[in-house]
């Protein structure tokens, strides 16, 4: 438990000092928690003296006690408030610092990092996981450390009057710590089991929702509900089993504390009987026995939360340790836009995707890459943009090895048009300006006109200032695509990498997208993952990729005469494009 708390305190980094100062306030706070008991003892001893006729009770004592009580409450308030302002905000501040740190790392790692770690998990680490830290980090430090500080202060008070009672209380705390430790071990062991049940439930829920249409079409409603029923009931059973496992330790932890408080009562009764303790002290012991451990009792819940925090911290650590790809890169201005692959081999994991690939793309030419799915077409494009580093060989752009450049200086030469369009939740104008932050409004309109989106942008409620995705401004797939092309046109990079779609997302406006792409590619070095016959036939160079190797290379007229993959590919494409139903 303390190991995780230590880890947590280290995580707060620059705010660590405030955590430690907070401990001092917690210490002072617990003294003020003990004072009322002392006051009660004082009052009771006055009462008993009066009762036994030793000395009469002075009414002034009562007023004194009232004032002292008020002071103790105020002291308690003061120090808990001071502790709150020094400690409680640390969780939020450390979380904000961590988010910013992660954001900085994410912009510098290779894109391979994002495909290895799924996007959803990454964003949930920065959002949900850190929200959990935000809420519980200091809360847990407070519960555990301040809880133990309080109990130790109270035990010391006890020990001051009766060392034996103090000693017994200490044993109680240790005993409860033992059971908490066992609880924590179980919690640690069960964490993956619990997580798996949870994942299964998520998975089958998603499958159920996604399959609903098909399920209904084939009247499998009953079967589908059975499936999800099983997942939900499994999750219930596992959770209940885990809960049952915790319960004995939980109860033993609480019972050991209570048993010790009875022991304190018994010991002080015995000592009083023997005459070595005064009656008022015994009464104080009895009162202490009921409240001394209350700060430790709450710690059973902390055990679970700390387990989750531990896992979260490990997850964050993994992201923080990601490799930054361009540590040693330089900013280099390229002389030309030639692209060269020299004996390039590459694998995402063990399985090789590219094997000894060599080719040249001269500046200003159009190169079409064709081949079956999984042959390595996309990988070639990713390597040009250095989203990954090669395993062997070199990729050079403008005769410079891409590994010698910083990502920023390399990518300033490249525009990429993805099939999946990503627009930001921002105005249309800002989305286009993304291509070149220094662009004027006129330049943006000019790019929008070239990308054939000026007309529909003007129709939007606020024109160029319409925020994408807000009321009434839902854009069609083709319109989004054209905005993304306007962005690329504005960037005006000398190399254009294009992933071509056959079945366009917006077939009615296909020709507009095509015109936009033509504007983008005029006079550029173009690399296109091609599916359309016309594109392939007009290319200056065609690379036919199969199983990670370039099997054919040349122009359409050259390749169509060879008996190879290319001709088969063209045949199939011709069939597909000429297809009609019935």
């Amino acid at each position: 438990m303390f190991k995780i708390v230590k880890r947590l305190i280290d995580w707060t980094g620059q705010y660590k000092k405030r955590i430690y100062i907070g401990f001092i306030y917690a210490f002072l706070h617990s003294i003020f928690t003990a004072i009322p008991i002392m006051l009660a003892t004082y009052g009771l001893s006055a009462v008993l003296d009066d009762f036994n006729g030793k000395s009469e009770l002075n009414p002034a004592t009562i007023w004194l006690l009232l004032i002292a009580m008020i002071v103790s409450v105020l002291g308690r308030f003061l120090f808990s408030y001071l502790r709150a302002i020094t400690q409680d905000s640390v969780g939020y501040e450390a979380t904000a610092a961590e988010r910013i740190r992660l954001g900085d790392i994410l912009k510098r790692v290779s894109l391979g990092f994002f495909s290895q770690n799924n996007m959803g998990k990454l964003s949930s680490a920065v959002t949900t996981d850190l929200s959990f830290m935000e809420m519980f980090a200091t809360n847990m430090i407070n519960t555990v450390v301040n809880g133990y500080i309080t109990v130790i202060v109270l035990i010391l008070c006890l020990a001051f009057y009766c060392p034996l009672a103090g000693f017994i209380s200490l044993i109680g705390v240790l005993l409860s710590a033992l059971f908490l430790n066992l609880l924590e071990k179980h919690s640690h062991k069960n964490a993956p089991v619990h997580q798996k049940a949870q994942d299964d439930m998520v998975e089958s829920s998603i499958e159920y929702l996604r399959g609903m249409q098909v399920v209904k079409a084939f009247k499998q409603d009953g079967v589908a509900i059975e499936g999800i029923r099983k997942a939900y009931s499994d999750s219930k059973k596992i959770n209940i089993k885990i809960e049952k496992e915790y319960m004995p330790y939980n109860c033993l932890h609480l019972f050991s504390l209570k048993a010790v408080s009875i022991a304190v009562v018994a010991v002080s009764a015995w000592l009083t009987y023997c005459g070595s303790m005064d009656l008022p002290v015994m009464l104080m012991m009895d009162m202490f026995s009921f409240m001394i451990f209350s700060s430790v009792e709450a710690m059973n819940n902390a055990a679970h939360v700390l387990e989750i925090i531990d896992a979260t911290l490990s997850k964050l650590k993994r992201i923080e340790n990601a490799n930054v790809i361009d540590k040693d890169g330089q900013d280099i201005k390229l002389k030309n836009a030639d692209i060269q692959f020299d004996n390039v081999s590459f694998a995402y994991d063990e399985k090789p995707v590219l094997k000894n690939v060599s080719f040249q793309i001269p500046q200003g030419s159009t190169t079409a890459i064709v081949g079956p799915s999984g042959s390595g077409k996309t990988t070639i494009c990713n390597l040009i943009a250095r989203f990954y580093d090669v395993n062997a060989g070199t990729v050079s752009v403008g005769t410079v090895d891409v590994r010698r450049m910083t990502c920023d200086s390399l990518l300033s030469n490249i525009s990429m048009v993805f099939q999946k369009v990503y627009l930001f939740h921002d105005t249309v104008e800002n989305n286009i300006r993304f291509g070149n932050p220094a662009a004027t409004h006129e330049e943006i309109v000019e790019a929008a006109k070239k990308a054939r989106c000026h007309d529909f942008i003007e129709q939007l409620p606020d024109g160029y200032n319409t925020v994408i995705g807000e009321g009434g401004s839902t854009l069609s797939g083709g319109e989004k695509q054209r905005i993304s092309i306007a962005r690329a046109i504005l960037k005006n990079a000398s190399i254009v990498i294009l992933d071509e779609a056959t079945a366009s997302i917006d077939p009615e406006n296909e020709h507009l997208i095509q015109q936009a792409i033509s504007e983008l590619t005029v006079g550029k070095t173009v690399i296109v993952i091609a599916h359309r016959l016309a594109t392939i036939e007009h290319a200056d160079q065609i690379l036919v990729v199969d199983a990670g190797q370039i099997v054919q290379q040349g122009t359409h007229t050259e390749l169509i005469q060879q008996n190879g993959l290319y001709r088969r590919f063209i045949d199939i494409r011709e069939q597909a494009e000429g297809w009609s139903i019935a």
């Binding site: 009322p36 009660a40 009462v47 009562i62 009232l66 308690r76 964003s123 018994a266 015994m282 799915s373």
Partner: protein, 587 residues
């Protein structure tokens, strides 16, 4: 209108564990009572001493009783908590199941209109947040309420003035908390909003990182991100800081029950109305109610969590069902007729997607719907499959209103080809056989061959007996789609609807999918929502839709001659077909 109270919603799911809940509460009460016994023990021990000569045997006896009572307390506490956890998890399970069942009965269009992620979030995550508060609140809320009441009553018996003095801190703390909670709902809503905003910015930053990097805008995007994170932190801290004073004041005052009992007790003793023994027990008991009082403040927060989650659940549960008929009707013909059909998603006339459309889709013929996007093509197809019910007018199949046809019979009659390549978790053979449970193995193989999936299925480790779940990762999207087409071929329903835009997702294998679709649609009443006009130029009937109305209908040749919209679309299509990427001529 007042919403249904969340408590009654929760307990409507607790039917089968009502006994467990009652038992859990009873055990909690026993546990609380057992927890009071040690106070009595200590009282007895103190009486021994104050009274004069203590008898140690009695002292020991009371110690043992106290210890035993504690043991009893935790045994019952354990039973109670276990039972309440079981109940809470059962309630969770029931909520999830009825959500799932409700969604199955809701109009398909409504379900498909929501993102899977959002629905899953309610189904799994939102429901999960109920568990812990529920498991603790069921027994503890009642017992924590009971204990202070019991102590209060006891103290009233001793001396009513002591009882009142014990509670003196409650109103003071209450005022502090009330001031703090004054605009809690507003603050909480604001907080949730700014939380959503910062999460939105973060998700955008992570998901858009490819674009951000490709346009080397990492530093500016990063600034926006960092700014959002900082201002969220400042906002949250400002809110919390404004509550700290009051909150810490409340939590310092509330447990300080001695504030009242100590001076008042002494005063009462001074006046001679309270014995020292009673004074001691009053002080000790007033310590005993501190815990439950403090617990109550946490319940207030937890109840809010449950309340929010339950209302999310309730919103989904109140989605209306699609009315269904029980008995099958006899269909002899499969022509489709739309009579004055109007439809809008929100049931208002202004937002009509279709405005009083009438059209005929003859049996056994090939009909195509064309027109600009947003014209209502997909809506018509979905209304025929009854994803929703029409707002006005009627749709008939073979002369029978589809609302009179049971949903299961309609599912048998209409096949809808989508990009949804959903495979069930059974063998591939059984997946195909779902199309017709009576089909023999040979018929299944024949369907697979017709759908061009025979070849790759045989290459799988166990061929047709490979479990779809195991093979799932190794099958491409196009392969999964062909398996689902094989299933539809076997199903052999008389009406086939095909949305071209979503039918071809795998461009690498487009030609194989085309062949399988040709096998599926042969001789059927076929309705195609067309985008590439060359695909449907041979259709028996082409219907041109624009802005929810029928503009023209006829064959390809007729429309080319008569309809300017169709002619423009055709020319654009032909032009688009011959365009090439990288070509110099742009306009």
């Amino acid at each position: 209108m007042k919403q249904k109270s969340w408590i009654s919603i929760v307990f409507s799911f607790a039917a089968q564990c009502r006994l467990k809940i009652i038992l859990s509460v009873l055990c909690a009460i026993i546990s609380v009572i057992a927890g009071l016994v040690p106070y009595l023990s200590v009282y007895q021990i103190i009486t021994q001493f104050i009274g004069g000569a203590p008898i140690m045997e009695t002292v020991w006896m009371w110690c043992w009783i106290g210890l035993g009572a504690y043991a009893l307390r935790f045994v019952f506490y354990g039973i109670s908590t276990t039972l309440s956890h079981i109940s809470a998890y059962t309630i969770l399970e029931n909520i999830r199941l009825s959500l799932a069942q409700r969604l199955m009965k809701a109009p398909l269009g409504t379900v498909l209109g929501e993102s899977v992620g959002k629905l899953k979030n309610v189904l799994v995550d939102r429901v999960e947040t109920i568990e812990l508060p529920l498991a603790h609140m069921i027994p503890e809320c009642i017992s924590n309420l009971l204990l202070p009441i019991a102590v209060f009553i006891y103290l009233v018996c001793v001396d009513w003035r002591m009882a009142l003095s014990m509670l003196i801190t409650v109103p003071i703390a209450f005022v502090a908390y009330a001031m703090m909670m004054k605009n809690f709902n507003q603050q909480y809503a604001d907080y949730m909003e700014s939380n959503n905003y910062v999460n939105g910015v973060i998700v955008e930053y992570v998901e858009g990182i490819e674009v951000i990097k490709a346009f080397n805008q990492s530093s500016t995007s990063y600034e926006k991100f960092a700014h959002a994170v900082e201002s969220f932190k400042d906002y949250t801290l400002k809110w919390y800081q404004s509550t700290w004073k009051l909150m810490n004041f409340g939590s310092a005052v509330l447990p300080s029950t001695f504030l009242g009992t100590l001076p008042v007790g002494l005063l009462l003793y001074y006046n001679g109305t309270l014995t020292p023994q009673d004074l001691v027990i009053c002080l000790i008991l007033s310590l005993g109610i501190v815990g439950p009082l403090m617990n109550f403040t946490t319940y207030v927060n937890e109840m809010k969590t449950v309340e929010y989650a339950v209302h999310d659940v309730d919103k989904l549960l109140s989605v209306s069902e699609l009315p269904d008929e029980k008995t099958d009707v006899r269909l002899t013909h499969y022509d489709i007729h739309l009579q004055e059909v109007a439809f809008s998603y929100d049931q208002t006339q202004e937002n009509n997607v279709l405005s009083h459309i009438s059209l005929d889709i003859p049996e056994g013929k090939f009909t195509a719907l064309v027109g600009p996007s947003g014209g209502g093509k997909s809506t018509i197809a979905r209304l025929i499959a009854r994803f929703w019910d029409v707002s006005d007018g009627s749709i008939t199949i073979g002369g029978t209103d589809i609302r009179k046809i049971p949903l299961s019979q309609l599912a048998d009659t209409v096949s809808f080809v989508t990009q949804d390549n959903f495979l069930f978790n059974c063998s591939i053979k059984e997946n195909i056989r779902l199309g017709n449970p009576q089909a023999s193995d040979e018929e299944v193989f024949a369907a697979a061959k017709a759908a061009c999936c025979d070849e790759f299925i045989l290459n799988l480790e166990h061929g047709y007996d490979t479990m779809a779940g195991d093979a799932g990762n190794r099958l491409s999207g196009g392969e999964k789609q062909r398996i689902s087409i094989a299933r539809m071929i076997l199903k052999n329903s008389p009406i086939v609807i095909l949305d071209e835009a979503t039918a071809f997702t795998d461009q690498e294998n487009e030609e194989k999918i085309q062949r399988s679709i040709a096998a599926l649609t042969k001789g059927k009443t076929l309705l195609v929502i067309a985008h590439r006009l060359s695909t449907i130029k041979n259709a028996d009937q082409i219907i041109v839709l624009k802005e929810g109305e029928v503009q023209a209908s006829g064959t390809h040749q007729e429309l080319l001659a008569e309809n300017s919209l169709y002619r423009d679309m055709w020319n654009a299509h032909i032009g688009a077909k011959n365009w090439s990427a990288g070509s110099k001529e742009g306009r």
